[in-house]
């Protein structure tokens, strides 16, 4: 059993399939600095140049090309439709303010993806998630921490996972766990990138991710019981 990037370690930047339109996929488009799934590169470059020059129609086109990816990202990170809409709006407002500063060192989609993540992080900080001291602040209260697995083996999850249950379990994760789980396992960021984004240690990122997965496992094992209580 080798837990490499293609299995449990992560949906790493190299291994994510392009259709998922994740950070990984968009990073592969860096050679043309534009969007992986959209109009031809020359047309995109022209749209970008016009938007940078203040053409509102061109900016609307950029919105149209990126809206699904950015909105979906926000939704995954915060789990609330209303918050995701607000954050998407804020991300595109910041994009509009900063578009003239984009110099094409990375793919536009990667740049926008990073900008949106920062908008979400700012929002979470305002809500009280202390990302500057992850070792303490991202660790939930003791009753929210996952338990260890020293008992009898429980092979409930060896078959297919109930997608609804998993989705609900991710939505129910404490904010800190959820953030790292989404960034690593879904968005495909590496631990060193997460550490930079969240201003925490790489070890902390690894530890929080592991706890998030344990928490999900616990939730899935008890899913029928918790569901009955809802």
């Amino acid at each position: 059993m080798t837990y490499s990037d293609s299995s449990i370690q992560s949906a790493s930047h190299a291994s994510v399939e392009p259709s998922r339109e994740s950070a990984s996929a968009t990073a592969t488009a860096s050679s043309n600095h534009l969007l992986p799934n959209g109009p031809a590169a020359s047309e995109q470059a022209e749209i970008l140049a016009r938007a940078q020059a203040g053409d509102s129609h061109a900016f609307a086109q950029l919105y149209s090309m990126n809206k699904r990816r950015i909105y979906s990202l926000c939704l995954r990170m915060v789990g609330s439709v209303a918050e995701a809409e607000d954050l998407t709006q804020e991300a595109f407002l910041q994009f509009h303010r900063k578009i003239a500063t984009f110099r094409g060192e990375s793919a536009l989609s990667t740049w926008l993806h990073r900008l949106a993540i920062n908008v979400v992080l700012m929002h979470l900080r305002k809500k009280g998630l202390q990302l500057t001291s992850l070792d303490e602040a991202m660790d939930p209260a003791p009753d929210q921490r996952p338990g260890r697995s020293f008992g009898a083996p429980d092979l409930i999850l060896s078959g297919a996972i109930d997608r609804l249950a998993l989705r609900r379990a991710i939505d129910d994760l404490p904010a800190g766990y959820r953030l790292i789980f989404v960034l690593h396992d879904i968005e495909g960021y590496e631990h060193n990138e997460i550490a930079t984004l969240l201003d925490c240690s790489i070890g902390n990122s690894k530890s929080q991710l592991h706890k998030a997965r344990l928490k999900l496992r616990e939730a899935l094992r008890t899913y029928p019981k918790t569901e009955a209580r809802r």
């Binding site: 059993m1 080798t2 837990y3 490499s4 990037d5 299995s7 449990i8 370690q9 992560s10 949906a11 994510v16 998922r20 339109e21 509102s56 900016f59 609307a60 919105y63 149209s64 809206k67 699904r68 990816r69 909105y71 979906s72 939704l75 995954r76 995701a84 809409e85 998407t88 709006q89 595109f92 407002l93 509009h96 303010r97 260890r148 697995s149 020293f150 008992g151 083996p153 429980d154 092979l155 409930i156 999850l157 060896s158 996972i161 998993l166 989705r167 991710i170 789980f181 396992d185 879904i186 631990h191 070890g203 690894k206 530890s207 991710l209 592991h210 997965r213 999900l216 496992r217 899935l220």
Partner: protein, 88 residues
């Protein structure tokens, strides 16, 4: 192995697990894992969860009204900054 010894072996292994997983190394060679059904099951479950999560979230369309809000906010910002420029 006594229950206590097994408990501590599992505790040790599981405390090292975040680092082992992140390293991408071949964990199946770990002597503890070869002999422990509990930790093997744990690892299999974590692998299943990670794989399932990657397939879980579809790309979704934001509501159409969102663009109208963004457009209005941009116009408002531009009008405000225009006013400031005129004032100065």
């Amino acid at each position: 192995m006594s229950p206590n010894a097994n408990y501590f072996a599992c505790a040790t292994f599981q405390s090292q697990l975040p680092e082992l997983i992140a390293s991408g190394g071949n964990i199946s060679d770990d002597p503890h894992l070869r002999s422990c059904d509990v930790c093997r099951a744990l690892l299999a479950d974590l692998e299943t969860i990670a794989a399932a999560a990657r397939q879980l979230f579809p790309i979704v369309e934001p509501p159409d009204a969102l663009w109208n809000q963004i457009e209005l906010a941009i116009e408002h910002e531009e009008a405000t900054s225009g006013n400031h420029s005129n004032a100065s």
